[in-house]
Symmetry: C2
Subunit: 323 residues, 2 copies
């Protein structure tokens, strides 16, 4: 028992926060506590997280003062070591000194990072990128993002917002596709065309504007049930609308991922997220585009894996951020 | 004199090789020797470089055996520590064990890198990125390329081909623009649409196909004189063809550079190369696109500079590759 070094990580999403005590030598989650964000003001969220941290630490019989720091992965643009959350659309936060607030509440130093940077660090520590110096993780789920392990280190960039892959600017293939505003406030981000939430929103808008697609029947006529996985189902059933949409989305995602690999030359690409892992037809189309567009010079070193740690990658990585 | 630590760097282009003795504590070039590549077989080039290294070392009264290693920046895709040049279109090389050949000839270990990675390392050591942990260098000249300093280290990637920015895949804005094959052999690389050589080749092709543009008169009717700077001149004189071409090229370059900044979050972007520094109107259009498309989260940390070390960046960086 004495050889165990325990660390605390938190995964802060838009609706839940999860605190976990992680064995830093094995990556095992020793105890964890999940709490719903009943309110989303920074003060409320800080209180909810602090309570979850105390619960998890209590279950693991870990005295909080014995922990060097607490790491938090936030579904947001985070200014690294300053602890400032620049923009968290799901929480409605802009420029919140979240790290400082939480550190004050916990009485321990707090280190924050984007949730996918934390997940990449988790996969590097104990998952699909273990022992690999250069690895890129790409998630396409309700949002789109990435995390970079470069030279064995988490690459956070000059102000901590590196790897904001969802916010690169793209131009859809079909001239008729209207420009879309992203949750970050900017126009034509990759995420605005390809994330699960945005795909669903776009299909709803187009259905309301008169588009004809099987997705409507698959959703039982209920717009709220429209989702990327129903588009995937419609595609497999031969729906023309779904085919056109998936071709556009797959080209955008496939080329963007290919260019990321060409530029960073990782040994491993880790794919994750509900859209890439759940919408199998889209995933295959993305892979086809990607394989065709990665520079031949970068493809030789590359292997592609699904994420190993699933939803645990974020808390594990967060716990080890300063490790 | 005894405090001077001298290192040897080589810059290998398509037509010349330059060897330099560099003071590793100041970045000063103590002696240098430039040689024309009269032949381009690997054996001939190795002999020419070895001779240039001996000449430069002799001028600096430096005994070659006292040097730990010799660094070479090559205008090519280089497989890092293996010393293999994967693809050097200007030399006509594919899969050449160049590092090994040169090491055999010199009797010293040889470290090779892409010329722009070497230049980035030079600018980081003694130029526009000195003291900056995260810096990106982008060159648009006869070719298009980049070099990355991330976390204070040169990022070479898993097999040494990271930062091959010229070989990301793009889709031009105008539907009428035909696909172009790049010097690397692949289709639709950024370089195929935006490098000085490729722009000149495209304008020549379009003139021969009947395009009407002032570039023709500016070149005195001599197709061989067509260049990016003449297109720039034609643009300033109100030429419609030049305006359309520059808009397309500027969008491709500006968005690609913006996305690079969004993804890597550098504190400094260093711009260089004959097209970006010489074609002032194009450079301004690229800058406009770039400024509009960088994610607001990444723009705060960024400053943009021209390269400081000019043509010396490559040899200086190469000399310090293992430093």
């Amino acid at each position: 028992m004495t050889s165990q070094r325990l660390a605390i990580g938190v995964d802060l999403g838009g609706t839940n926060a999860r605190a976990a005590v992680v064995d830093a030598s094995s990556g095992e989650i020793v105890a964890s506590h999940k709490a719903t964000l009943s309110e989303r003001t920074p003060e409320s969220v800080v209180s909810i997280i602090a309570e979850a941290v105390h619960q998890a630490a209590g279950s693991a019989r870990l005295a909080l003062p014995s922990v060097a720091s607490v790491g938090v992965g936030v579904a947001a643009q985070c200014l690294g070591r300053t602890g400032v959350v620049l923009n968290a659309p799901n929480l409605g936060w802009r420029n919140v000194a979240f790290g400082e607030l939480l550190a004050g509440k916990l009485g321990r130093p707090v280190r924050i990072a984007n949730d996918l940077s934390a997940a990449a660090w988790g996969e590097h520590s104990f998952g699909a990128a273990r022992g690999i110096e250069d690895a890129v993780l790409v998630f396409v789920g309700s949002g789109v993002g990435s995390g970079f392990i470069l030279g064995g280190r988490l690459h956070s960039g000059a102000s901590g917002v590196a790897a904001e892959f969802g916010h690169i600017k793209v131009r859809p293939q079909r001239p008729g596709t209207p420009p879309r505003r992203c949750g970050c406030g900017e126009m034509n981000c990759l995420e605005a065309y390809t994330s699960g939430m945005n795909v669903a929103a776009r299909v709803r808008e187009e259905l309301q504007a008169g588009a004809r697609t099987m997705v409507s029947e698959l959703a039982g006529g209920d717009l709220a049930r429209v989702s990327a996985s129903l588009v995937d189902e419609a595609y497999r059933a031969g729906d023309a609308y779904a085919r056109e949409l998936w071709e556009e989305v797959a080209e955008l995602l496939g080329v963007a991922i290919a260019n990321l690999v060409t530029i960073l030359n990782p040994a491993r690409l880790i794919l994750g997220g509900g859209v890439l892992l759940g919408a199998s037809t889209l995933a295959a189309l993305v892979r086809e585009q990607m394989d065709a567009k990665i520079s031949r010079s970068a493809v030789g070193a590359l292997s592609v894996e699904r994420a190993w740690l699933g939803d645990d990658a974020g808390v594990i990585g967060a716990a080890l951020l300063d490790g």
